[in-house]
């Protein structure tokens, strides 16, 4: 269970399926689609978002903001 987190400024974010909802991750990808090339794939354990060619202005925080968005949407969704 790798800890592929935004702090690495990695080009790939792994959102654990048991912790993030699919709709939240999809919503995050759609919300940030204009700021980078984002590719969403899935494997057995995680939703995987690949981030490439971010706009330079947003590059330092893009992955972090995307992850925050996905987490907030997941939390809000569980509140109903």
């Amino acid at each position: 269970m790798a800890d592929s987190a935004p702090a690495d400024l990695a080009s790939e974010l792994r959102f654990d399926r048991s912790l993030y909802s699919a709709s939240a991750v999809t919503g995050a990808v759609e919300a940030f689609a204009g700021l980078a090339t984002l590719t969403l794939t899935e494997d057995d354990d995680a939703f995987v978002v690949s981030v490439t060619d971010p706009k330079p202005k947003f590059a330092p925080v893009l992955a972090d903001e995307l992850a925050n968005y996905a987490l907030a949407e997941t939390a809000a969704g569980r509140r109903g």
Partner: protein, 148 residues
Amino acid sequence: MSDGDELELAYDLGARTVSFDLHEELYDREAIYGAAYLFVDRAYLFLSRPADNHVRVRLRTKAETTEEGLTALAGEFANELLNQMVRRQVSQSTAQIREYTLARAFFGDDGRASIDALLAELDAEELDDDPLEIEVPWERSGQGSVGG
């Protein structure tokens, strides 16, 4: 908070991050989400699973900070986590009485009776002199006291 008594914090000052693991048998998942939701405007958060039934919370500050700053941030998150736990427990323990109170207010006989009594009181009012029901109380009491 792993097996020990204290929160085991892992720092990475260069990345402005502090991480700690929570056991889901101790910390309800909803409480973790509740605390996280309140922190997204202050820090960048990321959740992962280091092991079964464990949630790793990773907090990254939005500005430069020190180890003390990261410790304080993790401490505040832990406090909020406890706050969320207590709120959930109180909510669950009082759910039945809340439902009962609401049901009685909306559907109980007493509520219906009091509404009927109020309607009857309104119907009983003498409004013959004021068919449009636009009279206001001060018009009566003020008669004669206003000059002209």
